[in-house]
């Protein structure tokens, strides 16, 4: 029985061990399609950090927004204040009708009439209207219900109902994007009229809808790396100061919300420190190394967190990176015959640094939300951008010499980046705004194609520029 089993196994093994069959073409088509979709990688930033970041962003934004809601603005948000039976001073003079001239009410009188203890209106009448339902006399009861009295007595009267406050409130409450509000119709006194209260035409209240912004910024760029063995790269790689700038076209959809798209240029990169240049090019032939190459025009490479910088060395020169053991293949020759790490002659070596630069054409899509609307506007901004690689080069700096040694291999051409920041807008002329925007940008994907180390650059910048609005 056992022999039969063994025989059976053997027959199956002989006949099927190397069994081959033509594979349907659709498999290859499926593989190509599958490879087109890049493999999902582990998210480098833990989710709790993302959540914490978003929570912080929302908290700061909300705090700024509500801190900015001064009592006056709250009042304006709640009521629309419009002049009632307003006549300008010249008109009053022309009419010659002294009775038509409003009496100058003392504050105490105004307070008295507006507290409405009697429930009846007097001079300096204060009437609340509710939408289109016509004037509604304010009674103690409905004031309490609507919390009008407290706001009015504390703020409007305390501020003497100054005309400019009323104007500001009127302007604020005239925003198109807000729901109709309750109105308070006030019979103005002379102070109000002489303070220059005027009704601002509707078209002058509308905001500028389009804008073109030119910005430039010094940036600090570095990278977030993850993956097996990635820690060692942080020992000798450092961030880089660079620059970024470009144009953005914006469109406002409401007083506070606007969308921007444009073209930006960003250069970023990092330094690879602690590089040694060996002028002596000494390879030691020992049993671990296959042989010493006859020709010294070898192409060597420097391993870094993005991938491999191909470095065509001059004859008799060699570029390498400290900090690796031989097993790490830091000095991996492009020539496959020499996979073992060469042993370097430590004489005549000198310190050097590699600067790796990447240039990107950035196509941003940003949303700006105005959280403070004053002379100095404050905006929260966020969005994503598509980054197209347009430049990739590395230089070797040794002593006074700087030489171009190529660039990193296996770098993605198309990348995506998240943007967030604050925007400060200061109007310097009617259509011209000075902008300052501290921004943080973070690559959403790894820019290298290495499966082992994922490299996501980020940059911090203080984008400064001017915005033309119309």
């Amino acid at each position: 029985m056992k022999d039969l089993q063994n025989d059976m196994d053997k027959i199956f093994r002989d006949k099927l061990g190397d069994y081959q069959q033509q594979a349907p073409e659709e498999i290859w088509i499926g593989i190509k399609a599958g490879l087109g979709k890049k493999p999902t990688r582990k998210i480098l930033i833990p989710l709790w950090q993302v959540a914490a970041g978003m929570a912080l962003f929302i908290t700061i934004g909300s705090a700024l927004y509500f801190l900015n809601r001064t009592p006056q603005n709250q009042l304006a948000d709640q009521f629309m204040i419009v002049p009632h039976n307003v006549q300008t001073a010249p008109e009053l003079a022309k009419s010659g009708n002294n009775e038509a001239k409003p009496e100058i009410a003392k504050e105490s009188e105004i307070r008295k009439t507006r507290v409405l203890d009697s429930g009846k209106s007097e001079k300096g009448q204060v009437i609340a209207s509710n939408g289109n339902n016509g004037p509604l006399e304010i009674t103690k009861k409905n004031l309490q219900t609507a919390h009008i009295e407290e706001i009015r007595s504390d703020q409007m009267l305390k501020n003497g109902l100054s005309a400019d406050r009323m104007t500001a409130a009127y302007i604020q409450s005239s925003r198109k994007d807000e729901i109709p509000r309750k109105k308070i119709t006030i019979t103005p006194n002379w102070d109000m009229l002489t303070a220059g209260l005027e009704v601002i035409p509707e078209d002058e209240l509308s905001y500028d809808k389009l804008s073109l912004t030119a910005q430039v910024s010094p940036t600090y760029s570095y990278r977030d790396i993850g993956g097996k063995g990635s820690e060692k790269f942080s020992q000798y790689e450092t961030g880089k100061i660079s620059y970024s700038g470009g144009l953005q076209f914006g469109i406002k959809t409401s007083e506070r919300l606007s969308f921007y798209g444009g073209v930006m240029y960003a250069q970023l990169g990092y330094n690879i420190d602690n590089v040694e240049r060996f002028n002596d090019y000494a390879l030691v032939n020992n049993t671990d190394i296959v042989s010493v190459p006859e020709s010294r025009n070898e192409v060597y490479s420097v391993n870094n967190s993005i991938g491999t910088i191909s470095a065509a060395s001059d004859k008799g020169k060699f570029i390498g990176t400290n900090g690796f053991s031989r097993g790490d293949k830091a000095y991996e020759s492009a020539n496959s015959d020499y996979l073992s790490a060469p042993v370097l002659n430590s004489t005549n070596k000198e310190g050097a640094k590699i600067e790796q630069y990447f240039q990107y054409l950035e196509l941003p899509f940003l949303v700006r939300y105005k959280i403070i609307d004053r002379k100095l506007d404050v905006n929260l901004l966020g969005g994503v951008s598509t980054n197209i690689l347009v430049g990739n080069h590395a230089t070797l700096n040794s002593g006074d010499q700087t030489s171009n040694i190529g660039g990193s291999g296996d770098v993605r051409n198309l990348n995506y980046m998240g943007n967030m920041g604050l925007g400060f807008d200061y109007s310097i002329r009617k259509n011209l705004v000075f902008t300052v925007e501290p921004q943080f940008k973070y690559f959403l994907n790894s820019i290298n194609e290495s499966q082992l180390v994922a490299n996501r650059p980020y940059l911090l910048g203080m984008f400064t520029g001017v915005k033309y609005v119309w």
Binding site: M8, F12, R13, K15, Q22, W28, S336, L339, S450
Partner: protein
């Protein structure tokens, strides 16, 4: 086992499409034959092969030059098939009907069958028997290794192999009878 030129492997490591296709064309017939042994049907085999080759290209940087590249790919194919099997294992959790007769079949009868016949017979096994039989009889793994690969005990592996053989003998007999009657 003729192995793959290093130039092609390097090209695949760099993500070059031309080398990926070249590698695929070189290995496809063998690997498809392998997948057919582990799959329930041809569609299943196509799925396994597609998923496995995508893994090969995505993880090719992890391949060390120490071992045979084809052996490495073959292992990925098998692992992918086993993953698929594990995902389907609940579907096949019921024991299949066991053959009543323990009468053996002459090995010459099996020898007369073509590779395609044997492949069809193997594919008629439920996955848990098919996997163990393939891994043991064809790939040459021992029961300890099979147990680790499938997450079962050595004893279960032995038991499944024994049952697989019995079923295969029955299937061979059935096929032999059909063939003889047809003649």
């Amino acid at each position: 086992m003729a192995d793959i030129p290093e130039k092609i492997i390097d090209g695949c490591k760099k993500g070059k499409g031309r080398y990926q296709e070249e590698l695929y064309r070189m290995l496809a017939p063998k690997m498809y034959g392998l997948c057919l042994k582990y799959a329930n049907d041809r569609d299943d085999a196509k799925d396994i092969m597609q998923d496995a080759f995508i893994k090969v290209f995505q993880k090719i940087e992890q391949y060390s030059t120490k071992g045979s590249f084809e052996g490495w790919v073959r292992r990925i194919m098998i692992n992918t098939a086993l993953e698929k099997y594990r995902s389907q294992v609940t579907i096949y959790s019921l024991d299949e009907r066991m053959p009543v007769s323990d009468e053996g079949v002459n090995s010459t009868v099996i020898e007369d069958l073509s590779a395609e016949d044997l492949l069809n017979i193997i594919r008629e096994l439920t996955p848990k028997y098919r996997m163990v039989f393939n891994l043991y009889a064809i790939e040459g793994y021992n029961h300890k290794e099979i147990g680790e690969m499938l997450g079962i005990s050595e004893g279960t592996s032995k038991s499944n192999l024994s049952r697989a053989r019995l079923i295969l003998q029955e299937k061979v007999k059935e096929l032999f009878c059909i063939t003889r009657d047809a003649k």
